[in-house]
């Protein structure tokens, strides 16, 4: 290699580009909630792009009540060892020590998640302080941009996790996309007012107005239970899909998982979606979101 200059040996880890770039690699894919190494293997076999390691799926968190926390490190280690795809795990909102632990365990992405019981009622974690990237939930554009300002490298809708009802995820995604579309037509004068209204940094608002999209990848989460649900979220503009309780609370998890993966890839081909939707066994039962008491709505957690 004498004819070419030597390669600089100063690698930089944990940069915004490396964190956001990781999420770009997950696009078009399905990220599945799993609670055991066996489930993680089923998810990987079905074609998941990543798994979310947690102690209980949201449907069980709802049922059991109590404080929901970060998972046992042993369980997370077991899942990391079981699969070759990326492993994500959840920390409580504002619980930066849980996040430090997850980083130390070597998870590939941290979900600062409203599905767990918030640890701080005012502050989210400072996500710039970590090498491990974060994904955060949002119900609207302002919330998404506040999370990105705090260092989130990926955004997902909140939906209403553990209900098997996609209505809230649809609402959040339409809200975010609608607000982005509105910014597209704004001039600089209007963007200052928009930033104030969105309670988000001007620079980020301007960037969204120019790009016509978030500066990070946007996934859907919350309530996806069928292949058609997943395809719906993709057609509404989600770049990929998280599936929580919808898979392992159904009659035939392996088959349903594979079907949701296929429908996510061919989201715009109704023939494929029809084909993979046949004979999947029972879907999770589901909960009507409008009968959920206010205190049980996870989407209201975070701000």
């Amino acid at each position: 290699m004498s004819s070419t200059p030597t390669t600089p040996q100063h690698p930089e880890t944990g940069t915004a580009r490396v964190k956001r770039g990781m999420a770009e690699q997950l696009k078009g894919g399905v990220i599945m909630d799993v609670v055991t190494p066996e489930e993680a293997k089923i998810a990987e076999d079905a074609g998941a792009v990543a798994v979310m390691a947690l102690e209980r799926v949201p449907a069980d968190i709802r049922k059991d009540g109590g404080v929901a926390r970060m998972s046992d490190p042993d369980m997370i280690d077991g899942i990391i060892d079981a699969v070759s795809i990326p492993v994500m795990a959840k920390s409580r909102i504002g619980h930066f020590v849980e996040a430090q632990v997850l980083q130390a365990l070597g998870v590939d992405y941290i979900d600062e998640s409203e599905v767990l019981t918030p640890a701080d009622e005012v502050n989210h974690s400072d996500k710039w302080a970590f090498t491990t990237p974060f994904v955060c939930g949002a119900t609207n554009l302002g919330e998404a941009l506040r999370r990105i300002a705090e260092g989130a490298a990926m955004i997902r809708s909140k939906g209403e996790a553990g209900t098997g009802n996609v209505v809230e995820a649809v609402r959040h995604l339409r809200q975010i996309k609608g607000e982005i579309a509105k910014l597209r037509g704004c001039d600089n004068n209007e963007l200052y007012a928009a930033a104030k209204e969105l309670r988000a940094p001007f620079e980020l608002v301007k960037e969204v107005a120019e790009l016509g999209k978030l500066p990070v990848v946007l996934f859907s989460a919350g309530g996806v239970a069928t292949p058609a649900d997943a395809a719906l979220m993709r057609q509404l503009g989600a770049e990929g899909v998280f599936v929580g309780s919808g898979i392992f609370k159904s009659g035939d998890p392996a088959k349903r998982a594979a079907a949701i993966v296929k429908a996510t890839t061919f989201y715009d081909d109704p023939k494929v979606v029809a084909d993979v939707s046949r004979n999947l066994g029972e879907a999770m039962v589901g909960i009507n979101c409008d009968t959920l008491p206010e205190a049980e709505r996870y989407a209201n957690r975070g701000w």
Binding site: M1, T4, P5, T6, T7, P8, Q9, H10, P11, E12, T13, G14, T15, R17, V18, G21, M22, E24, Q25, L26, K27, G28, G29, E44, G47, A48, V49, A50, S84, I85, P86, Q103, G106, V107, D108, Y109, T131, T132, P133, A258, V261, K262, T265, F266
Partner: protein, 196 residues
Amino acid sequence: MTTPTIGVLALQGDVREHLVALAAADALARPVRRPEELDDLDGLVIPGGESTTMSKLAVVFGMLEPLRDFVRSGRPVYGTCAGMIMVADKLLDARADQETLGGVDMIVRRNAFGRQNESFEAAVDMTGIPGGPVHGIFIRAPWVESTGAAAEVLARYDGHTVAVRQGNVLATSFHPELTGDHRVHAFFVDMVRTAA
């Protein structure tokens, strides 16, 4: 041929970024998911993504053999990261059932640079790319453990091979599509023009 048509395999991964980079390098770029969509392409990019997933979807949707035929046809193919894994003849640290297309006589080690915490960016000198080092973004990146006689090493980082070319197949461990620097894509588009 002035404007070659180049497909980007769109089963999963950072397809959009490759479409943008190819268009910036004066190619007509379009996503492909079905066998018949390969027919009138002059070249193909296999993007970054999750190689386990991409390989599974290729099998399930009947794309594996058509993609292998595409590589064999001699039309140029460029794989980044997961795409590099896809064009490797042999893999290490992969599931036993992970299928590849092959095309480059090399052994690629998956996630060789480590998990996401070890993902990094660094300058990389690449043979054939004028104008100084390229900005390499390595995300849970593979490296090339060894190459056969027909494969030419185009770049190394920290002693590991991270870019190779064999005939009309090009592969990089890193992601030029994430940088806004389109020189590697321009290099590939030139390969496509020359081959056509």
